[in-house]
Amino acid sequence: MTAGQAGPVPAAAGREPTVVVPMGEAAVGGPGDLMVIYGLGSCVALALWHRHTRRGALCHIVLPEGSPAPEDPPARYAGPAVDWAFNALGPAPAADLVVKLAGGASVLPVPKHVPLLDIGRRNLEAVNRALARLGLRITAAATGGSQGRTIFFQPGDGRMTIRTAAREEQVL
């Protein structure tokens, strides 16, 4: 798509992303990485950051729940995605982990009568349940609303920068 103006890399980061995390995928980054999720709508970005090792896992969660298939990517569903991120950072006490969330918006103006479409809200609820099961608490979040978000996550310092279509930036 070539619509509109493609913006530069965010001012907060000032450099090219090293890891792009597509829908349903998850990845681990180190201190030198800049990880990105483009165009988050109803999906949820979960960043789990280890404050001592300075490694971080970023998940692009699509759906609250379902029947995972072997070929599914690790973050298609909320519960398995949270488990994946937790395990990917190795054994760590909850106190060493920082949890940041973004997304879960209602970007499409879907009629209220359409069944089971409040995906953003349901995704956030499912992620919250999965985090609580592991004893993890959310440190910072920018969720809900009706605007899409692009997420930049820097495992070097755990910073998450959020940019909207209106070019507004927020740092968590």
Partner: protein
């Protein structure tokens, strides 16, 4: 007939008939000839959607339309902001609605013009496809939104992923007196007219 079990040529025929129906209705709306041309039609796994749709911060104007009937699902019409502005201008010219209008009211007129355009384009497109496939489709009124194309597509795919793993994407252009207005239509059917089970297996 199941849309996504159709052969590619059947699907393309259905799309062509849908575009012809939209072309005719838009000509009537604008009071001048409109020509629709099909650029491409693809049917793919949701996970195989062209990555260019899901990356970057390009802004798009979208008209979302849910459709029900024997075939149900989601339809998203995406336009570049310039194309959307061109549509509004064409409708002003045709109806005189924007003449001498102050900026706030003009924004409202733009909004209404796009809704009218989208309602006719996607509504007639879906009806034309349904006629070809001999099924019933009942489009709901469309709603307009503006965001990054990636966020819009992300939300459409997530909505569809609950019930389906397939998407149909149509790239087309509508020309009004030589001015091409490129559009992209993305359809994710979530309920099918055939007794055969739908391809999706997720039951949130």
């Amino acid at each position: 007939m199941n849309l996504l079990s159709s052969s590619v040529s059947d699907l393309k025929q259905a799309v062509v008939q849908g575009l012809a129906a939209a072309e005719s209705a838009l000509s009537e709306l604008l009071g001048r000839p409109v020509q629709a041309s099909l650029i491409s039609v693809t049917e793919a796994e949701l996970s195989q959607v062209d990555a260019s749709w899901l990356s970057g911060d390009d802004v798009a104007v979208a008209l979302y339309q849910y459709f029900d009937g024997s075939l149900a699902g989601h339809c998203l019409l995406l336009m570049e902001p310039d194309a959307a502005a061109a549509v509004s201008r064409q409708l002003w010219d045709a109806t005189g609605a924007g003449a001498g209008t102050a900026a706030p009211a003009r924004e409202e007129t733009d909004h209404s013009a796009l809704l009218e355009f989208g309602n006719i384009l996607t509504g007639r497109f879906l009806s034309g496809m349904a006629d070809h496939l001999q099924i019933e489709v009942l489009p709901a009124p469309p709603a307009r939104t503006v965001d990054t194309a990636a966020a819009l597509f992300n939300s459409l795919l997530a909505a569809g992923a609950q019930f389906s793993r397939r998407i149909v994407t149509v790239a087309a252009a509508f020309s009004v007196e030589g001015l091409p207005i490129p559009v992209t239509l993305a359809l994710i059917p979530t309920r099918f007219p055939d007794p055969a089970p739908a391809p999706g297996r997720d039951t949130p």
